[in-house]
Structure formats: structure tokens, C-alpha cells
């Protein structure tokens, strides 16, 4: 009896402690998670090359960069409080951490997908021919969003399809090889692999909706407020690598290519369909543009429509998003996602 209650107490304490490990207060050790995607490969490189350590030392802190094999799991871990920051898209940031009540700041806006996500049909046809066909994709992902936007552009909705079949991205290429599959929506490097197969027909891709699928580094708002040095170190390290990449540093690009399982040429091809913000000033201009609020409202509506904006969300405006000029979309009393350009501005001004 005693032993059991002791075990219960230990269990509860360990769960709770693990859970509260990454809450805000001044601290010197930080953990950031990332997963493989063309625009996030710099995170792996800046950890391996020592650039992150250099910047962390400069600000007297310690930043550990951890690669997580499963993208959604990495965001879930961040939301659960195991990490101080994570690489994520604007859409998933809004639905998972922000929708889950974890106040999150978009610290670095790294790129937007400009062709990296695509709707691919087996054989001849156009977007309107998807009517009545099954479509394989990772449901509720940016692929799903792209499909919704694509169908919208030809006056169709998801109800006009035969059905959407949730298919793991790990098995997408094998799935495409089977006769059951007629159309898929997926992202790079899968898109380029599938397009190599005869008869693969790209109907619509993210370059048709530029600037809507945004890849970012998001961090816990409270942690950032209490530890501005954490933000400065991340941003400083990031733009040092960006400068290397823009200059075409072969060693850096080759390392990233190999880490993503391709070669230099393959990685460059993927970068071509990614609108990287090499310079912090470009990212700042993008975040401060008038299009971003429109995009976020679109995304929020999509998430609400699919019922994934959080339990009991009464409308698409349930979660508020704040922009650098102080304006908000959604519920201003429940702002859980902040676009903050102040750190990227410091990088642009050379103040780091």
C-alpha cells in the first residue's frame, strides 16, 4: 500500500516535472528541435559546424539543437514543453502550440514554399479532373491546405472528391507505385522523386499560392521575453549560415544535402522551389507585408473548417495572431501566436 502510493507520487512528480521543464524563467540552457525539410537543413548544419556554439558562447548561454525524425512529433514535444523552440510551418504553429494555449513567437521566418508542395495526378488531366477521384495525402497537413486552395481555384471543394486517404509521408512513394492511387499531394523531396516516374503530372503547386506556406523557427514567447539572449543567439547563428548559403559555400551546402539524403545538385533543385530569405531585411519585409494577415486568416479558416483549431473553438477567430505593427487577426483577447521581427531587425542592422 505504502509502496503503491509512493510509486504513484513518484510517477506524478516525474510526469509533472518533465512537463514543466521548459517553462519560462531566466536560464542559460536551451533546447531547440528541428526536422528534415529543405528550408530547415541549416539548423543541422549550424549545430554540426559549431556556428551555434559560437553564437551561444557570445551570449553566455548553451543551446542544444536536436533533430527529431518525425515532424509532427517535434511540434508535439515543443507544445508539451520539452523544447524551447521548434521548426514549424505557420499553419502547424497556429493549430498545435497556439491552438493548445502555448503562447508562441515566430522568431525567424526562414522561407516560404514556392513549388515544394504539389498536387500530382497519375496521367493526363487538369485540376478539375480530380472530381470524383480519391486523393492520397497526409491529412490536416500543409498538403491538405494546398489541396483545399487548389480545389478552391477551380470552384471545387473536398466534397467533390471521391475521398481523401490519409497516407503517411514515409510511405507516399511506395503508395504512388500502387494501382489504387490516382492522385497525391505531398512535399519535397518526395515531389521530385514522384515526378521522376513516367506519367506523373503536376497539377498545382505552392508557387501558385506564393507566401502562404511559411517555414519558421518558433519559440516559447515567455522564454523569449525572459531570455532575449536566446533569441539573439539563434538569429545570429541562422543568418551567418544564410550568408554562407547565399554565397554558395560548397562545403556547407554539401553537408546539408547529405544530411537530407540527396546530393548537392538535388539539394540545389529543392532550394530553387523554396523562396529562402537570405537576408534578414527580406524576412522582415515579408512579415511586415499586408499579405501575411490575409494568409493567416485563410489558414485559420481552413483549420476551423477541418475542426482542428482546438476543442470548443467557436469560430475561426478563436486564436489571435499578432503582427509586428501591433495589429491582430482573430481574437485579440486570446493572442497565442506573435510575429516578432525585432530580432531579425537586429540582424539586419548588424546589432547582434
Amino acid at each position: 500500500m505504502k509502496l503503491r502510493s509512493l510509486i504513484a507520487a513518484v510517477f506524478a512528480a516525474s510526469v509533472a516535472m518533465g512537463a514543466t521543464a521548459a517553462t519560462a524563467e531566466e536560464k542559460t540552457e536551451f533546447k531547440v528541435a528541428w526536422s528534415i525539410y529543405v528550408g530547415w537543413m541549416p539548423w543541422g548544419y549550424l549545430a554540426d559546424s559549431g556556428i551555434m556554439d559560437k553564437w551561444a558562447d557570445k551570449y553566455g548561454i548553451d543551446v542544444e539543437i536536436v533533430q527529431i525524425n518525425d515532424y509532427v512529433e517535434s511540434i508535439n514535444l515543443y507544445t508539451a514543453g520539452q523544447f524551447d523552440g521548434v521548426s514549424a510551418t505557420n499553419m502547424d504553429t497556429l493549430s498545435i502550440p497556439a491552438g493548445g494555449g502555448v503562447d508562441t513567437t515566430a522568431l525567424i521566418v526562414g522561407d516560404f514554399s514556392n513549388g515544394n508542395d504539389a498536387i500530382i495526378l497519375k496521367g493526363e488531366g487538369a485540376l478539375a479532373d480530380l472530381k470524383g477521384k480519391p486523393v492520397n495525402l497526409v491529412e490536416l497537413s500543409v498538403s491538405h491546405y494546398l489541396l483545399a486552395r487548389g480545389l478552391d481555384s477551380v470552384g471545387l471543394t473536398e466534397a467533390d472528391l471521391d475521398k481523401v486517404i490519409n497516407t503517411s509521408d514515409a510511405d507516399m512513394i511506395a503508395a504512388y507505385g500502387t494501382s489504387d492511387v490516382q492522385a497525391v499531394v505531398t512535399w519535397n523531396p518526395l515531389v521530385s522523386t514522384i515526378m521522376e516516374q513516367p506519367g506523373a503530372n503536376k497539377l498545382f503547386d505552392s508557387s501558385d499560392i506564393p507566401g502562404e506556406i511559411i517555414d519558421m523557427m518558433v519559440v516559447n514567447t515567455e522564454t523569449l521575453a525572459d531570455n532575449p539572449n536566446f533569441g539573439k543567439a539563434l538569429v545570429g547563428a541562422w543568418y551567418e549560415v544564410m550568408a554562407l548559403m547565399e554565397a554558395g559555400d560548397e562545403a556547407a551546402l554539401t553537408a546539408m544535402a547529405e544530411a537530407s539524403g540527396t546530393d548537392l545538385a538535388g539539394y540545389k533543385a529543392q532550394l530553387a522551389s523554396t523562396e529562402m530569405f537570405w537576408k534578414p531585411a527580406d524576412a522582415v519585409a515579408f512579415v511586415e507585408s499586408a499579405e501575411l494577415p490575409t494568409t493567416m486568416v485563410n489558414v485559420a479558416e481552413f483549420l476551423f473548417d477541418k475542426g482542428i483549431l482546438g476543442e470548443g473553438a467557436p469560430s475561426a477567430d478563436f486564436v489571435g495572431v499578432a503582427y509586428p505593427d501591433g495589429s491582430t487577426t482573430g481574437d485579440p483577447a486570446n493572442v497565442k501566436l506573435h510575429y516578432d521581427t525585432s530580432f531579425m531587425k537586429m540582424a539586419a542592422d548588424g546589432a547582434l
Binding site: A12, T23, S95, D171, T178, E311
Partner: protein, 271 residues
């Protein structure tokens, strides 16, 4: 009295039975309280009350698009896949297992092959299974069957070989043919053991079912869990996990009862 001879009375027995469950529930509640004190909308460990609320909603509210209550349609499709998959595996396991156990020619041919085959991890050759069985219903049933059949074949053949040779000899002296021996000597002793083996393989069968539904699907218990994981809806996931646990327990209990009722000669001790 020595501790090994002390037994709890009936009421105390019940309390002791419930104790670990209550301890886990209490630990969960405490951990959930601590997390929600910090973030009232924490998704990882929702309050037990919130889970009950979600469960009620999931169990009764029809889906907007299809008009079906997804919980029940998911359950129906998953149980159907499980039943067909396990059924096929049990049938093949019984037939080939008996053949291997009884006929030395078949044993020489297949025993080694099945032994090797049972070591192949089915999840590792998924792409091949996709090409053979497609991505539809068949592939999910096939994954379950492929996953547990080798185990059942091996187990059945070993059980046949365990039948005392005196029995075989006696049946032969009474003039039984190979076929009659299979039907009248081996089968009655193997069927109850088949139920035992199926019970043991239900754990892996559920695993393969959920894996199959996670990979490519548009309905099912595993599909729903992996879908809502995308927005960390642990309240829904936990509802489904409790349900799957309950289903698995009930199926196991049902098979145990079936074994006892259908094969009384086998005795309770064996099950």
C-alpha cells in the same frame, strides 16, 4: 503465519485488484492538475472530466460531413479488419500447422521455411506488401494475416508434435487412416490450443491493424488516433485508447470462455 500462506479475503481482494488502477488514475490526475495550473488549455494531459466530456461527444455526435458517428463506424471497420485478418491467419495456421505436424514430407518441406519466414518483420517489407495487395482493405487485412500466420503455423505444428506417440500408435492399431487420425486424434486436441494461440497473437494483431491504418486509410481506430495526433488531441486519443484496451480485453475474455465451453475435455487448467 507465513506470508506465502496468507490470502486476502473477497472484499480485500477486490480492493487490491482496483488499487493499481486507482493509483494510475490518481497519478494522472495530479500530473494533469499541475500542467493545467500552468496552461489551462494544456493538450498533453487533459483533465479526466474533459476526457469524459470528449468521450460523450465522440460517442454520440454524428460527423458533420458523413452524418455517421465516427467512433462507431471506426470501431466497426477496425473490428471487421481484425476479425477477417485473424480468421484467415487462424485457418491457415491450423491447416498448415497440422500438415507440418502430422506429415513428415510436409514437415521436411515447410518447417524450415516457415521458421525463417516468421523471423521477417512484416512492417519492414511494407512497400512490397503494398505492391502485392494494393492500398485498400485487402492490404490491411493482409498485414494482420502476414504478421501473425507464421507464429500460428509454428505453434500449431509444435502442438501436434506434442501429442503423445502412444495415442498415434493406438489409433493406428485400431485401423485409423492418416486422415482419420488428423480428424479424430489431432484436431480435437489442437482446436483448444488454437484458441490459446489466437489469444496470444491478438496483441500483435492489434499492433499490425493500427500500423496498417496509420499508413494509408480513411477510417478505423488506428486512423483516427494518428489523424488527431496531428493536433495533439490527447482527449480523443485517450478515449480511443481506453476503448481499444476494453475491446481487446473483451475479445480475450470471449475467446477464453469460448474455449472453455466448446472444449470442456481440455480442462480449465490448460486455459
Amino acid at each position: 503465519m507465513r506470508w506465502i500462506n496468507r490470502k486476502p479475503g473477497r472484499p480485500l481482494g477486490w480492493i487490491l485488484l482496483l488499487l493499481p488502477f486507482l493509483a494510475v488514475l490518481a497519478a494522472y490526475t495530479i500530473a494533469s492538475d499541475i500542467r493545467r495550473a500552468e496552461n489551462p488549455r494544456d493538450k498533453l494531459l487533459p483533465a479526466p472530466a474533459a476526457i469524459v466530456e470528449t468521450a460523450q461527444r465522440v460517442l454520440t455526435q454524428p460527423d458533420k460531413r458523413s452524418g455517421k458517428i465516427l467512433f462507431w463506424s471506426d470501431t466497426a471497420i477496425s473490428l471487421q479488419r481484425l476479425a477477417i485478418g485473424v480468421g484467415i491467419a487462424a485457418l491457415i495456421g491450423l491447416l498448415i500447422g497440422m500438415a507440418i505436424g502430422l506429415l513428415p514430407y510436409v514437415r521436411s518441406t515447410l518447417a524450415g521455411f516457415v521458421g525463417v519466414l516468421s523471423m521477417v518483420p512484416p512492417l519492414a517489407i511494407l512497400p512490397i506488401l503494398f505492391i502485392i495487395f494494393g492500398l485498400g482493405e485487402v492490404s490491411k487485412i493482409a498485414l494482420i494475416a502476414v504478421g501473425i500466420t507464421p507464429f500460428l503455423i509454428r505453434d500449431m505444428s509444435l502442438r501436434v508434435l506434442e501429442i503423445p506417440s502412444e495415442m498415434m500408435v493406438k489409433a493406428q492399431t485400431l485401423g485409423a487412416t492418416s486422415f482419420v487420425i488428423a480428424l479424430r486424434v489431432a484436431l480435437p486436441q489442437i482446436l483448444p490450443r488454437l484458441i490459446q494461440s489466437v489469444r496470444l497473437s491478438l496483441g500483435p494483431a492489434w499492433l499490425f491493424l493500427i500500423a496498417a491504418e496509420a499508413i494509408a486509410s480513411d477510417a478505423g481506430l488506428g486512423y483516427r488516433i494518428f489523424l488527431v495526433r496531428r493536433y495533439l488531441a490527447m482527449d480523443i486519443i485517450l478515449t480511443y485508447v481506453v476503448w481499444i484496451t476494453l475491446l481487446a480485453f473483451l475479445i480475450d475474455y470471449g475467446l477464453k470462455t469460448l474455449g472453455e465451453r466448446a472444449f470442456p475435455w481440455f480442462g480449465k487448467g490448460g486455459l
